[in-house]
């Protein structure tokens, strides 16, 4: 079950368990661990025509800029327009910011960012081992925020606006993994 779920996540041909573009397993829990994600990434790394980049960063707000710039530079091999580069940077910034302030509650932690290009599609997965999300559907609603005083609640809306597809896997205590895909050059 766990592997099938993760394969579903990584393999674009297998839709996996999607509900409205979000993915869940049958008992509503996120399955898999960092090691397993790594294994899958390692196997996929040598698939012809697919190039993968993985980085691990400390959960620090100053790494938000670093993360989005690295992913933008990685995506440059698809020859994106300036606008597409800005879209990618904004979406990555949203996901990493969520990991820092929500996933790890501004505390210590490691954020893993995996980016892959295959043909003309960029996919980026930002994952954390933080507190997770109780209700993913609610979290993805525009203007919903658990910190409404300082945050606009538009993080997921921005990811959806700037990328073609956004999938969120999360459960309380099991971290959050956000996978975003974007076709470059239309």
């Amino acid at each position: 079950m766990e592997n099938k779920f993760l394969n579903g996540n990584m393999n674009q041909d297998d839709p996996g368990n999607y509900v409205d573009g979000k993915m869940w397993n049958s008992d509503g829990e996120m399955s898999g661990t960092q090691e397993k994600t790594g294994d899958v990434a390692e196997k996929k790394r040598w698939k012809p025509g697919r190039e993968v980049m993985t980085m691990k960063i400390d959960s620090l707000s100053e790494n938000e800029e670093f993360a989005r710039v690295v992913v933008a530079v990685f995506a440059a091999r698809l020859d994106p327009t300036v606008e597409e580069i800005d879209d990618i940077k904004t979406a990555v910034s949203e996901a990493v910011t969520n990991a820092v302030i929500h996933g790890y509650q501004n505390g210590e932690g490691t954020i893993t960012i995996e980016a892959a290009v295959e043909e003309n599609v960029l996919s980026v997965t930002v994952s954390d081992d933080g507190i997770g999300i109780k209700n993913v559907e609610q979290a993805m609603e525009p203007m919903f925020s658990t910190l409404p005083d300082e945050r606009s609640g538009m993080g997921f809306s921005f990811m959806e606006a700037f990328m073609d597809r956004v999938e969120v896997i999360s459960a309380p205590g099991k971290g959050t993994s956000v996978t975003m895909r974007k076709k470059i050059g239309r």
Partner: protein
Amino acid sequence: MEQSFIYEAKGQTLIIHMPAELDHHNCRNLRYETDLLMAENYVSKIIFDFSRTTFMDSSGIGILLNRYKQIKAGGGVVSFYGASPQILRVLKIGGVLALMPQYESKEEALYR
């Protein structure tokens, strides 16, 4: 890199010069700093200057909306100038474009 906001006061107007990269990290101080400025001075107009800004995400939208609500509650006005196409796109998706008048320059924002 730490980037700071530069505040410029002209009468009851507060001009906030936004940093180059407007993300969560760089937005952290804005709330505290503007609260302090607005507690000490009577501010009826806020003008955001985006002419240095090349990147913005929803954290920027959050602070803009907060300042907007705060000023509007006191009957004041909020506007902006100097936004590049990328910043305008983010402002539009964030719903800010419909709330605040947009000007070409500081002078225009000040005297209209």
